[in-house]
């Protein structure tokens, strides 16, 4: 019985940390440079290898040049690698977070219609639905759906 109770607690803990595990230490350079063009995607969402490859290829970054000075590139790479995801579900051969097993599973209830909604356009447009992004909270209670509906609607 004790064993079941322990397992239950562990499961509850895992569930509970789902929304919290996107929290990252504050890093002004990462937010400024990555956030200049898109949401500063949390480092946990790709593996260390993925981030390294991404940061080695900034001259061809999904169709545009995003080169950084060597010093800044290294500082941001170190931050991303140090906080990277460690599980296979965060690995992406294309380096796109939206193609990880984790992303697809987290968003399995989103209908194809919503992804192409004019307010959304692309799955990488986190801000379309997630009100609070970055180093603070990605909790589901902060979600809104297209057309201004909240998650509860």
């Amino acid at each position: 019985m004790k064993r079941y109770a322990l397992m239950f607690c562990l499961l509850a803990a895992v569930q509970h940390t789902q929304a919290d595990d996107l929290k990252v230490p504050k890093n002004a350079l990462w937010e400024k440079e990555c956030g200049a063009c898109h949401v500063a995607f949390p480092p946990q969402l790709l593996t260390a290898d993925n981030w390294q490859a991404m940061m080695d290829g900034l001259a061809r970054h999904f169709g545009s040049n995003a080169e950084l000075e060597a010093r800044e590139r290294k500082a941001i790479t170190d931050f991303l690698v140090a906080n990277a995801g460690t599980l296979a579900r965060h690995r992406s051969a294309s380096l796109r977070i939206t193609e990880t097993v984790w992303f697809k599973r987290e968003h399995r209830s989103i209908s194809p219609k919503e992804w192409v909604h004019p307010d959304v356009k692309t799955p990488s447009n986190c801000k379309a639905c997630h009100n609070v992004v970055g180093h603070t909270s990605w909790a589901e209670r902060d979600l809104r759906r297209t057309g201004g509906r909240s998650e509860q609607d």
């Binding site: 063009c37 898109h38 001259a59 999904f62 169709g63 545009s64 040049n65 995003a66 080169e67 950084l68 000075e69 356009k121 692309t122």
Partner: protein, 132 residues
């Protein structure tokens, strides 16, 4: 009274400085000059703004993403990212950060022309854009 006249004269001097310059743009134009650029040519900058090069099979110019109405935002042709207006009359943040200007010259010249811009081209662009 004399003092007031003197103050007005000093104010007049400040007013005579063209509005289309920033400490950052002054720094950069001096840097380009020290690196071999001749007197900046705004007309050349204007011409170059719409000069198209084929990069990876696509015709590209500055205007492809920034547009040519400098008081309006532009839009990245691939990602759709909104690009804040280039005119400092409507966007006070423009041309205030030396590092930022150089960073984007490097990225955008490579994206639009497939190579970095020369110091002369950058001096021409900057002078043209400051007047918009």
């Amino acid at each position: 009274m004399k003092r007031l006249t003197a103050m007005l004269m000093v104010l007049g001097l400040f007013a005579a400085v063209p509005a289309h310059a920033t400490p950052a743009s002054d720094t950069l134009l001096a840097k380009y000059k020290s690196e071999g650029a001749k007197a900046p040519d705004a007309a050349k900058g204007k011409k170059d703004w719409t000069r198209e090069e084929v990069v990876e099979g696509e015709k590209m110019s500055c205007a492809t993403c920034h547009g040519s109405d400098f008081s309006k935002p532009g839009k990245h042709h691939k990602t759709g990212k909104v690009i804040e207006p280039m005119s400092m009359k409507v966007n006070a943040e423009r041309y205030t950060d030396v590092k930022k200007i150089e960073k984007w010259f490097k990225r955008n010249c490579k994206d639009a022309w497939g190579r970095e811009c020369t110091v002369q081209e950058k001096a021409d662009f900057l002078t043209f854009l400051l007047a918009q």
